[in-house]
Symmetry: C2
Subunit: 472 residues, 2 copies
Amino acid sequence: MSYTGDDNRMNAEDVDVSDIYAEDGSVRSDYLMHVGAAIADRDLLYLRQHVARLHASEMGDLLEAIQADQRRALVSLLGNDFDLSALTEVDEAIRLDIVEHLPNDQIAAALGEMDSDDAVYILEDLDQEDQEEILAKLPFTERVRLRRSLDYPESTAGRRMQTEFVAVPPFWTVGQTIDYMRDDSELPDSFTQIFVIDPTFRLLGAVDLDRILRTKRSVKIETIMRETNHPVPAEMDQEEAAQLFEQYDLLSAAVVDENNRLVGVLTIDDVVDVIQEEAEEDLMRLGGVGDEELSDSIASTSRSRVPWLMVNLFTAFLSATVISLFDASIQQIVALAILMPTVAGMGGNAGSQTMTVTVRALATRNLDIHNAWRIVRREAGVGLLNGMLFGVLVGCVAGVWFQDINIAGIIAAAMLINMTAAALAGILIPLLLDRFGADPAVSSAVFVTAVTDMTGFSAFLGLATWWFHIGG
Amino acid sequence: MSYTGDDNRMNAEDVDVSDIYAEDGSVRSDYLMHVGAAIADRDLLYLRQHVARLHASEMGDLLEAIQADQRRALVSLLGNDFDLSALTEVDEAIRLDIVEHLPNDQIAAALGEMDSDDAVYILEDLDQEDQEEILAKLPFTERVRLRRSLDYPESTAGRRMQTEFVAVPPFWTVGQTIDYMRDDSELPDSFTQIFVIDPTFRLLGAVDLDRILRTKRSVKIETIMRETNHPVPAEMDQEEAAQLFEQYDLLSAAVVDENNRLVGVLTIDDVVDVIQEEAEEDLMRLGGVGDEELSDSIASTSRSRVPWLMVNLFTAFLSATVISLFDASIQQIVALAILMPTVAGMGGNAGSQTMTVTVRALATRNLDIHNAWRIVRREAGVGLLNGMLFGVLVGCVAGVWFQDINIAGIIAAAMLINMTAAALAGILIPLLLDRFGADPAVSSAVFVTAVTDMTGFSAFLGLATWWFHIGG
């Protein structure tokens, strides 16, 4: 017994991440060297033993770690030993590159073996022509299933769903159901619940497997099925579906068409990916980057980042115009030019703090009409408080630096004004964008910076001009 | 049959989010009004029927949507009908407020009913004293279990795990196992796999429930168990554990102590929360905010945001010092003061784009030693390309604006320099912070802005001073 224990633990470690991964989570360099050598020597034995057996996600990491030419060589060397589901784990660019170098026959054969959701994931990126050619090579039922998924718009539950599932009539007993599962070879690779349907495939309910295992064989399914299993309409946006999973801690959910007919099942592992993507999206949008991937080229990356920079350039020139209104003051008191970026910059930082909190709260639906007003008041309070604090602080430093009490008072007031404006902009701009159906993560940053820059410059330079009676 | 169908669909909708939620995902206002009225009238019937039955997460949203006094009133009105697991779905501040207003007896009674991971989630926030008092009221086994979880450091797998699980010896048959599950009443509320252990509780393997259901009763468990089920050490950081779940699409994983003894099970629903938190953390850190919650007060929010502003203030004064070196130039050519924020600002935007991509890629482990050098080269290329583009653009505008070809050339060169510097800072700073074990999300922004501001000002003002032979 204890021997078996040790033995098993060793096996467990064989596939443990510590195996092909180094401490920092990257693929171990010596492993990469061995693989590279094996590819160069066309050492099929090594590749079959130490590469072909990798978990799909490990294979994905390997493919991303090696060079493009090695990649293609590896895939063609492995031939049918290459598990295409690894392609669901790599960047789109890499996926397309590999698929384009694979014969459609091999792709079709591989897709036939796969869960439909993975197959769709690979198919959807291909151009119409290749798609049709590959689909044509698939057995009828497979083809119909995949077509149906592909017919649903991108990023809907229907597109993400798996069309393999177990469904039984309500009048079956637990015993019948278990016997059916023991005999049927067409079952999905893994499942956590079985669905209950009527003769027209309309969804009646679901039963978790543990429930079945706890129930006597004689009991009828309809007596133990849950009716409340949050069926997901196939057209529902994947993000919405993900929220259902999070809210009700679902492991899988039935996907139904407009007639409540069961068409597939959405599983938590797909939903986890969706959650990741959505969170990543907000982060990227706030940073002013779109859907770019590490494998993108210089040209395409540069292109995708230009629009945001362009908008920022426009607002930058607006602030420059604001400054130019006070050129006389700057010429007389150069300290103003030296200090004005501090006023604008601190406002920008305070604004981005509030904006970040607001955007995230909106995304996680923690901020809504019920608490919006309270949060606005809170942020305004925080802005005032920190505005006073940093106003005094900056005032003192500036006063000492330029030995001028007037400068000290002016910059202190300007800081207070700008940091309060920053707080209000930081929460009101995302709220408004959200109200008008725009994604607050995308454009909030630009507007907030515009407000804090222009308020900062005009408040500081304006107050100075007025106080020193310049130009007036 | 078809009637049952309709009936069930109606039931399904009863608990569907569309029920207590409005279109935008917030709790419906009319529902809140009814609940508020019921609380005011102490209408227990309504509360038991329309509130007590809510799903824990719906109850959580309700609690967050109503006022503090209503909250306490509602909880005390519901008494033992109030499902404490709703507290795992609300802000920490709200959770503490409610728990403090509940008698420890009621808490203890409720915790006894809960899955241990939820119970721990509620206990861990309480002060030592209350914790002990409540634990003392729990039955021995419960107490030991919860103590063990609480003994593991925060944000480890051991703290998050559920201590209820099904474990059987390897020599049992599938039939024995099923019969055991039918008879044992102590089973966890829901589970997707059973574990196989030796007499000393050492983990030998696991079997998914669907596997059991597909297998004949006579088959021995050891012949169908997976040995490769990625056991999670109890001390493993929850983020690492979450990565295991993502990588291998796990639904649940065994948590083992240092002797490979099975101590609990980590389930995907907890992992989903972890993934959410981690993604949110990066977003917040990049925005310069710490672990603050919407329910925090003005004072505590302000306090938590001051440190980051303080660091930024320091760098702001550094840039101010840089500017002050060129005060003579600014006095002679005020256009420099008007344009210098544009050079610095555009660099800041470009830098934050690169930084965002880098931080995210590091967090998702897509950026490692194998591709770091390639990405650095790519970002440098993007910086040069966009630097030239916007250099020319800004140069033209500035030249026309101030009717001065020299200004145009100087600002164009400065833009090119600063946007290239921004790209390098945007990727190298996070990479270095990561190398030295610091969280790149926390401090990258400050350093990057410091670099882009100082480079921007010194490049632009320096070039101008040199070109126009000022002060020299």
